[in-house]
């Protein structure tokens, strides 16, 4: 029996393997491991949106305690954020979050000289400590708006 389905919980849908490893590192630093689940890699940002539409929209409507974080690469195109947001039904916008590296995680890893998992852990530490040492990196800074929503809704679940 899964313990968290009837409590607030966070699913993370990563675009690719690099984002999955970042999410792994994040989860290792959360206080409530069981309230977060990293899902199978979707295989591309369009596949993230397709999986969201076909699998997660109906399930989220049945699971009011569920929040969903979509991890996508922006590939230098911030217009992708608006494109992706347009795919989120109005009744779910407050429970779906879109985050990602401005270019791609490989560039962030090179710039920070950290493993993907360590990047995820650093991002979690920022969330826990209410700092933006890593979130403030120029490849992540564009997430500021979503991060604020994350701080309001997701972080109280993972860092109560």
């Amino acid at each position: 029996m899964s313990a968290n389905k009837y409590q607030p919980h966070v699913l993370v849908l990563p675009e690719d393997d690099a984002n999955r490893q970042i999410a792994n590192g994040f989860q290792l630093k959360t206080s409530k491991v069981r309230q977060m689940q990293v899902l199978e890699v979707a295989g591309g940002w369009k596949q993230v949106l397709a999986s969201f539409a076909s699998n997660h929209v109906p399930e989220m409507r049945r699971s009011p305690h569920r929040l969903l974080v979509l991890l996508i690469d922006f590939d230098g195109n911030l217009g992708r954020l608006e494109t992706a947001k347009a795919n989120i039904p109005g009744d779910l916008t407050d429970r779906v979050f879109l985050l990602g590296v401005l270019s791609e995680p490989e560039a962030l890893r090179g710039s920070l000289a950290l493993s993907y998992e360590d990047i995820g852990s650093a991002l979690a530490r920022d969330c826990r400590d209410n700092t933006d040492e890593t979130w403030g990196h120029h490849l992540l800074r564009h997430n500021e708006g979503e991060l604020q929503r994350l701080r309001d809704r997701v972080l109280p679940i993972l860092f109560p």
Binding site: S2, A3, G25, V33, R34, E40, G43, S115, Y116, E117
Partner: protein
């Protein structure tokens, strides 16, 4: 934390070094027969020495030589960081013609590069310390010296190393064998988990506060868990009973009636509590995801990984996609063996070129090239 494990000429491990230095948690993956469980067997030999098995024939046998090569020494070496000091233990065996069992040809324990004792064949040399003069004595070369040499105190390097190694958790539990019954207490559970009741008793006798960690974890994974008791059922005999309760009532179940997966939750709870109570520990768990529901595997693995981030070392093996995904390229090691005539090789996943998703590549057999 193990900084270095080197094994030579033991089964499929030849000139084999496990690169796990400074890694709090590591996953070993690879095909059946690649050598993952043999790594556990090598650790188990060191653990059994530390726990007091000193007869060489009880530790290794002629059939354990890689491809029967008894003319080449079989060697086990471990470097372990305990409280910031590196303890190095090495032992080598050979099997001369005419012998019926292996013998020790070299053995050494050192701390921070300074020998505590060294040995060649039957001659053991104890190094002089501030308290003791140096000494040389002879022992049967079919006996290992480590369990025999007298320790002076709990600060004696011999005691520190033996205590750390003997308390390592090397696990391959078979839940159907675990009844929860016990007639003694231990902090040194066996491979299959049959003595879980004794481990529970020993852990709580050693650190009663460990119960709160056990209780906290079991409540997370089984929301109707109420408590676990260990009542006497006879002279010097106890048996675990687990109580559940919710709005509609309560029930008590003998431990042996729990499901296989629920018994694994209990083992996990004891691992977490033990690492806090008398750790930091080494925990090698061979396929921890066995018996677990798919929805639990990820939480189970992440819980263990997280617990050992604060101290100790968790090594797992797995074929389970969900367990594999809960590790990353930097802490996943790929063991590979081309065929039964060739030895195991090991590489960090980050050094292996993979196209696309790791699990898909594993299914395709494209990881080991």
């Amino acid at each position: 934390m193990i900084q270095r494990l080197y094994v030579h000429n033991f089964r499929c491990l030849e000139n084999f070094e496990l690169p796990i230095k400074d890694r709090p948690s590591v996953l070993l993956i690879g095909n059946n027969g690649a050598g993952k469980t043999t790594v556990a067997l090598a650790l188990q030999i060191l653990q059994r020495i530390a726990r007091g098995t000193n007869r060489v024939a009880d530790l290794v046998k002629p059939k354990d030589f890689a491809r029967g090569r008894g003319d080449v020494p079989m060697r086990f070496e471990a470097e372990v960081d305990i409280d910031g000091r590196v303890y190095s233990y090495a032992i080598a065996f050979d099997f001369p013609p005419g012998f019926r069992e292996l013998r020790v040809i070299e053995e050494k324990l050192a701390v921070a590069g300074t020998a505590v004792y060294s040995r060649e064949l039957s001659e053991v040399h104890l190094v002089r310390t501030s308290q003791d003069t140096e000494a040389t004595f002879r022992i049967d070369w079919h006996l290992v010296a480590l369990p025999i040499v007298q320790t002076k105190s709990e600060r004696d390097p011999l005691f520190v190393f033996k205590n750390w190694m003997s308390r390592a958790l090397i696990l391959r539990p078979i839940p159907s064998l675990i009844t929860g019954a016990s007639e003694e207490e231990t902090l040194e559970p066996g491979l299959l988990g049959q003595d879980l009741g004794a481990w529970f008793s020993g852990l709580l006798a050693y650190a009663p506060s460990a119960y709160s960690r056990i209780d906290g974890y079991l409540r997370e994974v089984m929301p109707d868990f109420k408590d676990i008791r260990n009542p006497e059922i006879g002279k010097d005999a106890r048996s675990l009973v687990v109580q559940f309760s919710n709005d509609s009532g309560r029930m008590a179940l003998p431990f042996e009636e729990l499901s296989d997966g629920e018994k694994c939750f209990m083992i996990c709870a004891l691992v977490l509590a033990a690492n806090e109570a008398y750790g930091p520990l080494l925990c090698f768990w061979d396929e921890p995801d066995n018996y677990l529901a798919l929805s639990e595997v990820g939480h189970f693995i992440v819980t263990l990984r997280k617990a050992f981030q604060g101290g100790g070392q968790f090594i797992a093996t797995s074929h389970n996609p969900e367990a594999i995904r809960r590790f990353s390229d930097d802490n996943t090691l790929v063991l590979y063996r081309r065929n039964h005539l060739e030895p195991t090789t090991v590489r960090a996943l980050k050094d292996v070129e993979i196209s696309g998703d790791l699990v898909s590549a594993l299914i395709r057999g494209d990881v080991e090239r």
